[in-house]
Amino acid sequence: MAEARDENTRSYLPAGMPAPVPAGDGVDREFWEGARRHELMIQRCKDCGTFQMTPEWICHNCHSLEVGWHRSSGRGRIYSFERVWHPAHPALKGACPYLVVVVALPDSGNVRLVGNLLGDPMQEVRFDAPVEAVFEDHEGYTLIQWRAL
């Protein structure tokens, strides 16, 4: 991946960050398994069609317990962003600054995901700029990152 900043892991942030682990009760297994398959899966109510993040056992709109999954195109818009300068985790010492973005997914009810914006951390970031998901594979899990279009 051209945008990788860590030579060894080929990832945006250095090795040693906590890995996402699906919840023990299974509520978000499909989200993380989808990421593993390089598919962005968003929870969607089978009865009323409402999208929701993060996954839950019930639809917050109609209270149906039949909540299913929708595959998003992975195209989104930057809803907010920040440049982080202070390392709050030991693995991030020496990795600042880096960019965090909140991305809204118009094809999935505008639910939002948090990730890193790949590329130069000092790049100019614009609200509503189009981005697309980039699946960043690690040993045993996959992160969903974002590339400006």
């Binding site: 906590p18 996402p20 682990v21 917050h60 907010s80 920040e82 880096y98 909140v102 995901l113």
Partner: protein, 390 residues
């Protein structure tokens, strides 16, 4: 709202107590001992024997268990024991509100609300533990280096600033007002450390748009407050600070993780503030002084807007240093220095300062202050508020 179901004027804060405040990790004694010391000071301030306490309320998962406190103090009869859900400062006013509800309901007569912190003995707030894996809501943010309150509140602040055309000047004004008030408060950690605009601008970024001085401190110490009926408070040692209103709660899906609160750049007070004013029977313009929980300046700005003190699109003009300072700014805030410059006691120190304003004993006293507000916990969920008057 039916007057049968209100705490308005039925309850008062009768006593306040604070240990010395220390820099993070600087407390020379155990956290539990700090809690006990603050409770002793609050009871002495109220002029009641400690053994008269029959209720305990706290928030933010305070580690100092109520039964251990009741046992250590030899309380003959613990009649109310309560914890407000949620972390951070969201429950400060909520714990007082719960104590008030207990008194009005007849569960207890003298409820102590306390908060104690010793971060040398325990872990830090501003650091993320070095875990190998994480599940649940943090799984969607921690792996991307978005794990601290500064980082999530910066994201929401950035969006608020974009939506309402606000600049960094507003954030600087809030930080400088807090530091200004700490300069007359000898209890304040930042007493003798004034903050100029140059200092602010030259301080390091924590996470844009927050400089170092936009962020609360981390401190050690303890604070406690005695809540009792307004009737009993009249016969005690201090001028009572009567509860005019208390409210707690959270807006639609504000607990949605991975930054999915539908109303995003909000302090989470849009449904709560109208309830608060309705119970108090007042409007924002009637408030003389406000203690607004500063986790970060951006959240202070959003909560002042959502409490109706200015229109969001007027924030640029409202958030000026001169509007925010005692004795006669439009809305003097955080008159002890607050979480930014007095002490980060999870906002219980803000409630104590609101009491001082009603008593007329603040070190940055607002002229003729009658109505004194506290805002607890912006940009978290749940949040809470209270209003005091003489």
């Amino acid at each position: 709202m039916s007057s049968d179901f209100t705490v308005r004027d039925k309850v008062a804060i009768a006593g306040i107590g604070e240990t010395k405040y220390y820099k993070r990790g600087g407390a020379p004694v155990a956290e539990f001992r700090l809690a006990l010391e603050a409770i002793k000071l609050a009871a002495a301030d109220a002029g009641i024997p400690i053994k008269q306490l029959d209720g305990i309320a706290s928030y933010s998962n305070d580690r100092n268990d109520s039964v251990r406190v009741a046992t250590a103090l030899g309380l003959p009869e613990l009649r109310f024991s309560n914890m407000f859900w949620g972390g951070g400062g969201g429950g400060g006013s909520g714990a007082i509100g719960n104590a008030a509800a207990a008194i009005v309901a007849g569960y207890a007569n003298y409820v102590v609300v306390y908060r104690a912190l010793a971060q040398g003995q325990f872990g830090r707030f501003g650091q993320t533990p070095a875990l190998k894996g994480i599940s649940g809501p943090p799984a969607y943010t921690w792996p991307y280096g978005m794990s601290t309150p500064a980082q999530w509140i910066a994201l929401r602040t950035r969006r608020f600033m974009h939506d309402h055309n606000v600049t960094e000047d507003a954030l600087a004004a809030i930080a400088m007002a807090c530091y200004h008030h700490a300069q007359t408060n000898p209890r304040a950690i930042m007493y003798g450390r004034p903050l100029s605009r140059k200092d602010y601008d030259e301080s390091r970024w924590i996470v844009e748009p927050f400089h170092l001085y936009d962020c609360c401190m981390e401190n050690d110490g303890a604070a406690a407050v005695i809540v009792t009926s307004a009737e009993r408070a009249r016969d005690l040692k201090q001028k009572p600070a009567r509860l005019m209103a208390a409210a707690q709660g959270s807006d639609f899906r504000q607990g949605a993780a991975s930054e999915n609160g539908p109303d995003y750049a909000t302090s989470n007070f849009k449904t709560l503030a109208p309830r608060l004013y309705a119970m108090a029977g007042i409007e924002p313009k009637d408030v003389d002084v406000a203690q607004v929980y500063e986790n970060f300046t951006g959240a202070v700005m959003a909560s002042i807007v959502e409490h109706g003190f200015c229109h969001p699109d007027e924030a640029r003009d409202f958030f000026k240093f001169e509007n925010l300072i005692a004795p006669s700014g439009k809305l003097p805030i955080n008159t002890s220095g607050g979480n930014l410059a007095e002490c980060y006691m999870h906002g219980l120190e803000l409630i104590i300062e609101a009491v001082r304003q009603v008593r007329g004993t603040s070190t940055a006293q607002v002229k003729d202050a009658e109505i004194s507000m506290v805002v607890s916990g912006p940009m978290v969920a749940p949040v809470s508020d209270l209003i005091l008057h003489a």
